[in-house]
């Protein structure tokens, strides 16, 4: 049934960080390979940065999913702002120790001295710009001791660049920047995502004109594209139920894309 077809297409673009939904694109694939290579090197800290919605969290998640069976990998999606809580979480997740009392930085270092791993444990910290300055300093000192390896992601804004300069400039050995998609990459992204979920008919409805329109509205940002397409397929679902004569089944309507953009706020009308 066509109506459910649009609904399932809508679900494809729900903004959820799921490694299974990760779409391999030429540029992203190269970056991901670079990240994997960097992890294998004896580096203390790896920085993954880019504008919001460029796929940092998704890449980090993908890395976690791929490495979790090979080595000790811990991923923190939400930042642990409290220092004690952060150290206690590290002690628990890496060394399997559950300290009843408060764990300070010195105690954590003493604890880490008792444990040796074949491969240095890897900690993936998403949204690192939310960590306090003092905690970032502690993370730097832990990585300097070479007991834990950190991969952190940062939003690339002017303010966050300053943080990066202050705390990581001399510590980071590798930094990778993620960018928005080009129109060609965006087309592959949309069609691959749809085809992964067996929405072949809908994937074929996207032509270059539609992609150009979507790219113009979202600037190739993956999160914005997901948001726009979610709204677009909601509209298609509504028309399918109420006014099916208005639907052109061979192509995605530019009118509907623009209506979805108005709804999501990409067009101010």
């Amino acid at each position: 049934m066509k109506s459910s077809f649009y609904l399932s297409s809508k679900e494809v673009f729900l903004d959820v960080v799921d490694a299974k939904e990760y779409v391999q694109l030429d540029r992203v694939s190269t970056l991901y390979q670079s990240l994997k290579d960097s992890v294998k090197k004896p580096l203390k800290m790896i920085l993954l940065y880019g504008k919001p919605g460029t796929g940092k969290s998704m890449m980090l998640n993908k890395l976690y999913e791929e490495l979790k069976d090979q080595q000790k990998v811990i991923m923190y999606h939400t930042p642990l702002v409290d220092e004690v809580e952060f150290l206690k979480s590290l002690a628990r997740d890496i060394y399997g120790v559950r300290p009843f009392e408060e764990l300070n930085f010195t105690q954590f270092n003493e604890l880490s001295e008792h444990y040796e791993f074949e491969t240095t444990p890897l900690v993936l910290l998403d949204e690192a710009q939310l960590y306090s300055t003092s905690l970032m300093e502690k993370i730097r000192l832990i990585s300097d001791a070479r007991k834990i390896k950190f991969v952190i992601t940062l939003h690339k804004t002017e303010k966050e660049d300053i943080i990066a300069k202050e705390h990581f400039q001399t510590r980071i050995w590798e930094s990778l920047e993620l960018h928005n998609a080009s129109p060609a990459e965006l087309k592959i992204y949309i069609q691959k995502k749809l085809m992964k979920n067996n929405c072949f008919d809908v994937a074929n409805m996207f032509d270059n004109k539609n992609i150009k329109c979507i790219h113009k509205l979202t600037s190739g940002n993956y999160r914005d594209t997901n948001k726009l397409l979610d709204s677009l397929f909601s509209l298609y679902d509504w028309y399918e139920e109420n006014q099916p004569t208005k639907i052109n089944y061979s192509n995605i309507s530019t009118k509907f894309i623009e209506m979805a953009a108005i709804r999501t706020g990409f067009i101010n009308a």
Binding site: S234, L235, M259, R263, A269
Partner: protein, 279 residues
């Protein structure tokens, strides 16, 4: 909640808004093209006028330079045109510099062989002077010219002889005269239309024959302006000057002309004027 109707309305508003700049630019473009076509002929005509004016300016400047080269004839022309009344009374004021030229020319005059043997041929060279019609003209102009140039009448014994039969044929001759005048007017009218030097020369000769020397001088002058290489025109011009009492100017004109021309007729006339054979 998905409010598609409101969304469609907002989309329509957005589309209208987005088309407004395009529409305005098209309107501006069309109006621009329209204005261009409207004013293009005007600009063209003004530029054409400018070029024509420029051309005319150039032409006049060229003419001026040419005329400057012909120093003496030009001065004679201007003098005569500016002061025609004075010329009629044979008290023409010749500018000092032209007189200087005349004296200079006199000083540098070189004697050349006499060409008196050509005198007999001279009459044949002026086909427009109709002897049969001449008496009629003399009769009509005699009263006018007698006071100013009485010597001329006395100098033409042949003419007085011819006068006798003319008086006998008064009625018939007056008819031909009218016809002749109308013909002359017709030629003048044609000349004014097409500015043909042949016509102005014809008129000059006719007026000379009618002893209206001021007019013949004017038409010869016009002919010279149109074509400066017509011998007959210069001869009529010089002859008219002599008849108007400007012997010196006539000789000067002929001498200047002979510098650029090898006209035998002009040479003969010059000698005749200098020797007093032509008055």
């Amino acid at each position: 909640m998905l409010n598609v109707h409101d969304l469609e309305r907002r989309w329509l508003r957005y589309k209208i808004k987005s088309y407004v700049p395009h529409f305005l630019s098209i309107v501006l473009l069309i109006s621009g093209i329209f204005l261009l076509f409207l004013y293009l002929p005007y600009f063209k005509s003004t530029t054409e006028i400018k070029t024509i004016v420029q051309k005319e300016k150039n032409e006049t400047s060229i003419k001026k330079t040419i005329l400057k080269k012909e120093v003496t004839p030009l001065k004679v022309k201007h003098e005569v045109q500016n002061k025609p009344t004075k010329m009629e009374h044979s008290s023409l004021e010749v500018p000092q510099n032209t007189l200087d030229h005349v004296t200079q020319d006199k000083k540098s005059l070189v004697l050349t062989p006499s060409l008196h043997f050509m005198d007999n041929i001279e009459d044949n060279l002026n086909p427009y002077v109709d002897i049969e019609e001449e008496p009629i003209v003399i009769e009509s102009n005699l009263q006018e010219t007698q006071s100013s140039t009485p010597s001329q009448v006395s100098e033409a014994p042949v003419k007085s002889e011819v006068n006798v039969p003319v008086q006998q044929k008064t009625k018939g001759l007056s008819i031909t005269k009218k016809q002749e005048e109308s013909d002359l007017k017709d030629v003048i009218r044609r000349f004014k239309k097409n500015k043909n030097p042949a016509l102005s020369l014809f008129v000059a000769k006719r007026y000379y024959a009618l002893e209206q020397y001021q007019k013949s001088y004017n038409y010869a002058l016009m002919t010279n302006e149109l074509d400066k290489n017509i011998d007959e025109s210069w001869i009529i011009f010089s002859k008219s000057l002599v008849k108007l009492g400007q012997h010196e100017l006539a000789t000067l004109t002929l001498k200047t002309y002979l510098k650029n021309s090898k006209s035998t007729q002009a040479e003969i006339l010059l000698r005749k004027i200098e020797s007093g054979g032509f008055r």
